[in-house]
Amino acid sequence: MIDYQGSFNDGRSAGRQEVSVSLGTDGLSITGAGLTEPVFWPYNELVAVDNIASQAPFRIGCASWPDARLTLEDQRLLADFRVHAPQLFGPPVSKRLRNAVAAIAGAGLLGASIWFGLPLASRFVASMIPISWEVALSDQFADEIVEQFASMTGDSPRVCNNEEGALALDRLVTQLAEADGSPYEFDVKVIDGKLNNAFALPGGRVFIFRGLLEFAENPDEVSAVLAHEMGHITHQHGTRAIVQGLGVSFVFSVLLGDMGGGVIAAAGEILLRMSYSRDAESEADDSAIDLLQKSGLHVGGLSSFFKRLAQEDGDLPSALQLLSTHPSSEKRAQLTNGLEDVGRVALSDTDWKALQDICKQ
């Protein structure tokens, strides 16, 4: 029987005792001048502190004596340990594989639940938010957003409201709002800017730029755009996007913590928002058709508007559509194909002229 030399810390003081260790059938016997009595450590309770196969000297401990440490150096011990205490060499390959598979599956599950769960969760949270909160939120940012859009074409954000124009706009909005049955009170304004665009804010506010009124060839196109924006509001797309944005940035920055979560959170938020807003646009289109039909108005304006928009702006190459915010204009141009278009024109010629001239003072 060989005695191996080592050093022992009893876990009660910082002292170090030189000891000799002998291997029995059930465990290690540790004896030394500095020990009050011999110590016995069963093989199955041994735990490795260091990577014992690659480091010398190496330390081991005993599960039932948590703070004590035995430091050994002799490499011949390793052969005995492999037989009697294989746990010292780390978990077996099968267990490591199982852990790896579990980790990958877990990460996949986590990713999937974020990707699919967040939109659902934000839809639910948004539906719980009172309309007055949505209005309050929009009021905070409306001026700023209008200003930013207007500055894209170098315009200052002025609300157009000459008398005849405002009356015509009101007639258009009332037709749609009355048919809608939406709990929201719509507040539609025209901004004196060249931008060919319109947008909706949570709570009921819609902004249309003069550029869009000039681009539109008839009142049907404007009523289609208006119905589309009202769809955004009724389906709470903006509110949901805000809730989801908060959720995503929180989840990512928390998940990745000090791995630089902030940067990745921002990028992840854009990606999720893009995929989300594509769905939102389609939903708003469907809801627009529905609303136009309920109001008894022409639905064809929706398609013709996007058809001409596509000719003007060009479109994204088809491979990239998966990630783009808007459904392709080509696809949208065909939205109302095959629909029975029995509705009436939204505005009389006089009113249409007045609406187009709403910004004239």
Binding site: N9, A14, E18, G61, M274
Partner: protein
């Protein structure tokens, strides 16, 4: 026996008796650090890659692995330090902190919506910033406690008394004082905080003692401020190194006293190499990214907010670049910053005096079961 490349023979430190149970020396190096860039880079790289593929969850295992390695590379009196923390503790601490931070964020957002007046929002924002500072200091102190209670030498644990609350209140008060005095009280703040940290640090049943005075640092701080512009800020580094040396010289453990001869030049060179590496990495990646993606359109559309009309290539480009950059930065931080810093500090840290380590008994301090959650969530930037 085949040895892996990270196998290292323990250097035998000159213990004064055969047992290594007492130190009695005029002056000698306190700790030997034998970490090598290769194995550290390998661990950091594995952690970065697995961290990304598991959406960050692997980092609790990765951190534990890195700490186990770094701790075990530090030898004092012939025996290595040991890190006994577990990934599960870090995970629990993280979950706890994440839930609390989540509730705070939601509450703040709701308050922000419900308070329409600008004045009210300013007040809320100020309170939020104060709260964030408080939580950050709190997190730093609690994280320190976790690490100390998970550090052993010869089976005896370190520990920390004092409370995170106490530390955070002190730090906030001192920070306010420093602000009011336009920074002149900075050495006072540092000294008082170091005093709180050190005097609350224990190895086994004995604590460290700090008796530094801010006055000893005051004129160096003034000099550093005066020379800030002509030296392009390097005077602050010079002050920090001097502060570290002073704090070390004012720290005692029983009858052991310490000193450090860390030089500003040494730290400067480490930071220079690290800074150049980060700069090169940044330029290389942004050049590579710009050849693929046009960043020009980004600023306008991001601000417009409501209608993000960003091309998909742009977003994918940003995501990929951010992931690569953040991962490589994490690796560089260990290889080119923390590793050389630990080496520089340990090589210049001297100890004087004698102590009978047999008399140091095991700590009976509470260890807690949760890891440093807030430090993780708030990213206070420790190892």
């Amino acid at each position: 026996m085949p040895f892996k490349d990270d196998s290292i023979q323990a250097p035998v430190l000159s213990a004064q008796d055969g047992q290594g149970n007492s130190v009695d020396q005029s002056s000698g190096q306190f700790a030997v650090y034998d970490g090598q860039a290769g194995p550290i880079t390998k661990i950091a790289a594995v952690n970065a890659i697995l961290g990304l593929f598991t959406l960050g969850i692997y980092r609790f295992w990765g951190k534990t692995r890195m700490r186990q390695h770094l701790w075990s590379r530090i030898t004092i009196l012939g025996d290595r330090l040991e890190y006994t923390g577990t990934p599960k503790e870090l995970l629990l601490g993280f979950l706890f902190a994440a839930v609390i931070m989540g509730l705070i964020s939601i509450g703040l957002y709701v308050i922000n919506i419900l308070i329409p007046s600008v004045e009210g929002q300013v007040v809320v924002t100020i309170l939020y910033v104060i709260g964030l500072y408080f939580l950050t200091f709190f997190a730093i102190f609690r994280a320190r406690r976790y690490r100390l209670t998970r550090t052993q030498w010869r089976g005896v644990r370190f520990s920390q008394t004092g409370t995170g609350r106490g530390y955070a209140f002190r730090a906030m008060g001192l920070l306010l004082l420093t602000g009011i005095t336009l920074g002149l009280c900075y050495p006072y703040m540092q000294t008082r905080l170091q005093e709180y940290r050190t005097n609350n640090t224990w190895f086994g049943n004995r604590n460290l003692v700090f008796d530094g005075l801010a006055y000893d640092l005051f004129w160096k701080w003034v000099l550093a401020l005066v020379l800030y512009i002509p030296t392009l800020g390097i005077s602050i580094l010079w002050y920090n190194v001097n502060e570290f040396r002073y704090f070390t010289s004012r720290t005692r453990f029983s009858s052991l006293s310490f000193s450090s001869s860390l030089s500003t030049m040494n730290v400067f060179l480490i930071l220079l190499v690290y800074g150049i590496a980060v700069g090169v990495l940044w330029i290389a990646l942004s050049t590579a990214a710009e050849s693929v993606v046009d960043f020009g359109s980004l600023s306008v559309t991001m601000e417009a907010g409501q209608a993000p009309d960003i091309s998909p290539e742009l977003v994918l480009g940003i995501v990929v670049m951010a992931l690569i950059f953040v991962s490589l930065m994490n690796v560089l931080r260990f290889t080119l910053y923390l590793h050389p810093m630990i080496r520089a500090v340990s090589e210049t840290l001297m100890v004087t005096g004698s102590i009978d380590v047999d008399d140091i008994k095991q700590s009976d301090a509470e260890r807690g079961s949760r890891g440093e959650g807030f430090a993780d969530v708030l990213d206070v930037g420790a190892i």
